[in-house]
């Protein structure tokens, strides 16, 4: 009946001392992605305020930044939870 010993125990990926660090970094990643999203929105607004020939490049840069934040953030979340 040993196999029933851990049946009511859930093995949370975030628990204990290391869990505090994991949670901290997950919060930072969440904030980072939100910040990148807000930056992209602000750049879209400012592109209409002052128009230069480089504006499209700047908008593209902000979209790349957002993509990097989402993909990189997701990658970090997976690694941190697995670790």
């Amino acid at each position: 009946m040993d196999f029933l010993d851990g049946i009511n125990t859930i093995n949370w990926p975030i628990a204990g001392t290391e869990g505090v660090f994991k949670l901290l970094f997950l919060v930072i990643i969440f904030g980072y992605v939100i910040y990148s999203f807000l930056l992209t929105l602000r750049v879209r607004i400012l592109n209409d305020t002052v128009k230069t020939s480089s504006n499209k490049t700047m908008l593209l840069l902000s979209y790349i930044h957002l993509l990097l934040a989402v993909v990189g953030g997701l990658f970090s979340v997976i690694l941190i939870l697995v670790g």
Partner: protein
Amino acid sequence: MGHIPKKFLKGKKSFIANLSSEAGTNRVGSFGVFPTNISFNGQDKGESVVLVVRRHPAVFIPQYFLILVLLFAPVLVLSVFRDIEGLNFAFALGVGTLFLLLAISTAIDTFLKWYYSVNIVTDQRIIDVDFNNVLFHRFSEAQLEKIEDVSHAPSGLLSSIFDYGDVYIQTAGTKPEFEFTGVPRPRDIQDTLLDLLELKQKGQI
């Protein structure tokens, strides 16, 4: 002189002599003179942009250090977390990736804030766009004839080394003082503003 509209050449003002060699430069930089590739919301027909000024790159030296710290932070973090039980290589890689992302993000964020925090001087008005955080930006403008006083001051050791400073413009409008912060060649900006004001008062522009 080809890029300078004729109306500015009539008065033989000192700002034309100071700036004429750079007129028509359209590259992205901190100091643009008579650029042809910029317009703004509310620009009138025939209104000429005289100066486009952004902060001097040296203003962002603290941000450059922050980027360096973020790039080297994973090494420090890994040495700290090495002793914590239950954390392995995957966690370290995740944290390292996060710090690398934050370094890239800080660089892009600094660049975009530099690019969009722009001061524009035209023959009709001055415009001050402040973009200091993602939740807020300010677009202020004042007609040239509302300018009462212009002064400039270098601020700190770095400004003396790299020759940048703050230009203060007293106006009679709702925003009493415009501030062009950390801009290169503040003397030339002050001279240009006062010469444009004089031309405006004489009805030459």
